[in-house]
C-alpha cells in the first residue's frame, strides 16, 4: 500500500543486477521500492499498489517497455502514475515514440545512479508543485463562489451553546458538512452530514445536498412539519428523484432544538450514533437511530428520537473521519475508543475550547467534523 507522504517507485528491468543496484540507490534515498523482472511482473505489482513513479527498462523479453507503458495507460487507476524510461539507447526515434506514450522522461543507463535518483526526485517535486498550484487555483475559485460546507457564523440561542470543529483532510475540502438554521424565534435545526467519497468529488456534491437540506427544512416548517424525520424523508425522496445525484450517498443527522423547552428531536440517516454527556452524573449515553443512508432507497422511512437535556448536558455529533485513525501505520476504525476519549475529555472540562484543542492535535486520515450542542 502506498503510504501517506512517502515516495514509492516501481522499477522494472530484466537485468536483475541492475534492478538490485537501482533499488538500493532509491531505497537509500527513502523510497519504498517495488521491483519487477519483467513488464508482466510489473503489471502484477500494479494490481496491488499505486507507486508514486514507474521507472522501466525498454528492451525486455515478453512485453517491451512501450507495450508495458500502453497497458499502464489503459487503466484509469494507473494511467496518471509518472512514467520514466530507463534505456541503453539514446535514440531519437525511440525517444519520440516514448514521448508519444506520455513518458515523462528518458534516462540512459550510463547515467550515474545518484543522478538517476535526483532526476526522479526532481520530476516528483515538479509534479507536486504543479499539483499544489492547481489545488490552490481551485480553492481560490471555490472561495470566490463562497461555497463553504460549514457555517460562517452559528446562531446565538438563549440558554444553548452551539459550536463545531472542522478539519479538512490534507487541506482538501471533503464531503463533510455542518449547518445550523434558525427558522424562527425558538426553533433551530442543526445538521451534520457526510457525502460518501473523498476530496473534490465529495466536496462538489455537498453543495447540491446542502441546498436540498436548507430548502427542505424551510419548506417543511412553512407547512408546520417540524419533525426532523419527516424532513429526512423528503430529502431522501428528492435525492432519489434527482438524476444528477443518482450515484451519491450521504449520511445526515438532523437535531431540532426548541429553546422553549429542554428537549431536542433527532433523526438520522446512516450517521454515527450521537453521544450525550450527562454533566451531573459524568456519564455518557449513545443514541442510535434506525435510518439508512440518504440516496439508498427512495421509500426509506425515518423516525424521531426525543432527547431531554438537563442544564450542563452536552450532545456531540461527529463524522466518521474522527473514528478512523492510523495505529502503527495500519488504518483502523474505532467508534468505542473515540467515545471513551470524548468522555474522558469532558470529565476534565466541559468547555468546548478544551475539547477542540485536544482534537486538533490528532492526525486524521479523512476530513473530521464535530458538532457540539450544550444546554447552559
Amino acid at each position: 500500500m502506498n503510504k501517506q507522504n512517502n515516495k514509492s517507485i516501481l522499477i522494472v528491468d530484466d537485468n536483475l543486477l541492475m534492478l538490485k543496484v537501482i533499488e538500493k540507490n532509491f531505497a537509500d534515498d527513502g523510497f519504498i521500492c517495488y521491483t519487477a523482472g519483467s513488464a508482466e511482473e510489473g503489471l502484477e505489482v500494479l494490481q496491488r499498489t499505486v507507486p508514486s513513479v514507474i521507472l522501466s527498462d525498454y528492451e525486455m523479453p515478453g512485453l517491451n517497455g512501450f507495450e508495458f507503458r500502453e497497458k499502464v495507460l489503459a487503466h484509469e487507476r494507473t494511467q496518471h502514475i509518472p512514467f520514466v524510461f530507463l534505456t541503453a539507447h539514446d535514440n531519437t526515434q525511440l525517444r519520440l515514440k516514448g514521448l508519444d506514450l506520455q513518458a515523462i522522461d528518458y534516462i540512459t543507463k550510463d547515467t550515474p545512479f545518484p543522478v538517476i535518483v535526483s532526476k526522479v526526485n526532481n520530476i516528483l517535486l515538479s509534479l507536486r508543485q504543479q499539483h499544489l498550484q492547481s489545488v490552490e487555483e481551485l480553492k481560490k475559485a471555490a472561495n470566490a463562489l463562497q461555497y463553504t460546507a460549514v457555517p460562517r457564523q452559528l446562531p446565538v440561542l438563549d440558554e444553548w451553546e452551539l459550536h463545531y470543529m472542522y478539519q479538512s483532510f490534507q487541506d482538501y475540502p471533503g464531503g463533510d458538512f455542518i449547518d445550523c438554521i434558525k427558522v424562527n424565534q425558538h426553533l433551530t435545526y442543526c445538521v451534520i452530514g457526510d457525502v460518501v467519497g473523498k476530496k473534490w468529488k465529495a466536496w462538489f456534491f455537498t453543495f447540491g445536498i446542502l441546498s436540498y437540506i436548507r430548502s427542505a427544512i424551510r419548506l417543511c416548517v412553512l407547512d408546520n412539519q417540524v419533525s426532523p424525520a419527516a424532513i429526512l424523508q423528503k430529502i431522501n425522496y428528492v435525492i432519489g428523484e434527482d438524476e444528477t445525484l443518482q450515484d451519491i450517498l450521504c449520511s445526515l443527522g438532523i437535531i431540532l432544538i426548541d429553546t422553549n423547552t429542554s428537549h431536542v428531536l433527532y433523526a438520522g440517516a446512516g450517521d454515527l450514533p450521537l453521544l450525550i454527556y450527562r454533566q451531573q452524573q459524568q456519564v455518557q449515553e449513545r443514541v442510535q437511530h434506525n435510518g439508512i443512508l440518504l440516496g439508498l432507497q427512495k421509500d426509506a422511512t425515518y423516525t424521531d428520537i426525543e432527547i431531554t437535556l438537563q442544564k450542563g448536558d452536552i450532545i456531540t455529533a461527529f463524522t466518521d473521519g474522527l473514528i478512523d485513525m492510523k495505529v502503527n501505520d495500519v488504518s483502523t476504525t474505532d467508534y468505542d475508543g473515540f467515545a471513551l476519549y470524548i468522555q474522558a475529555l469532558l470529565k476534565t472540562s466541559t468547555q468546548f475550547t478544551y475539547l477542540k484543542q485536544a482534537l486538533e492535535q490528532q492526525t486524521f486520515i479523512d476530513d473530521a467534523t464535530l458538532l457540539w450542542i450544550k444546554n447552559i
Binding site: 496491488r48 467519497g197 450517498l249 450514533p273 466518521d320 483502523t332 476504525t333 468505542d336
Partner: protein
C-alpha cells in the same frame, strides 16, 4: 484485480484482494462488481477475509454495487467481516441493507 472471483454455482464469491479497502481501490471495485452483475451473476458473495480496514469511499462503492444489483434483480451478501468493519456497518445501519454472514459456507446455505 481488486476482487478474486471463484464460482460455486449458483453463487459467485468475490474475495476483496487488499488489506486496506480504501479510496485507492473503490472505483476499480465498483467497476468490477458492476461487470460481474451485468454479466448475469445473480448471487454474489463479497468476502472480506483479507480486509482489515474499510473506508467510507469503499463503503460507497459497495453500496453503489448493491443499488445496481437490486436494479438487476441480483443479490450481494457480505462475509468474513472483521469486528471493526462489522461494528462500523452496524453503527451506520448498513447492516439493515446488506445480508451479512460469518462465512461463505453460511451464505451458501441460505
Amino acid at each position: 484485480m481488486i476482487i478474486q472471483i471463484t464460482e460455486s454455482s449458483p453463487y459467485t464469491i468475490a474475495t476483496v484482494n487488499v488489506t486496506e479497502a480504501n479510496l485507492e481501490w473503490s472505483e476499480a471495485f465498483k467497476q468490477q462488481m458492476m461487470q460481474l452483475i451485468d454479466s448475469g451473476h445473480k448471487k454474489v458473495i463479497v468476502s472480506f477475509e483479507k480486509v482489515s480496514y474499510v473506508d467510507s469511499s469503499f463503503l460507497g462503492a459497495l453500496v453503489a454495487s448493491l443499488k445496481h444489483a437490486i436494479s438487476q434483480h441480483a443479490d450481494i451478501m457480505l462475509t468474513h467481516l472483521n469486528k471493526d468493519v462489522a461494528n462500523l456497518l452496524q453503527l451506520i445501519r448498513l447492516d439493515k441493507v446488506f445480508t451479512i454472514y460469518p462465512t461463505n459456507a453460511a451464505a451458501m446455505q441460505q
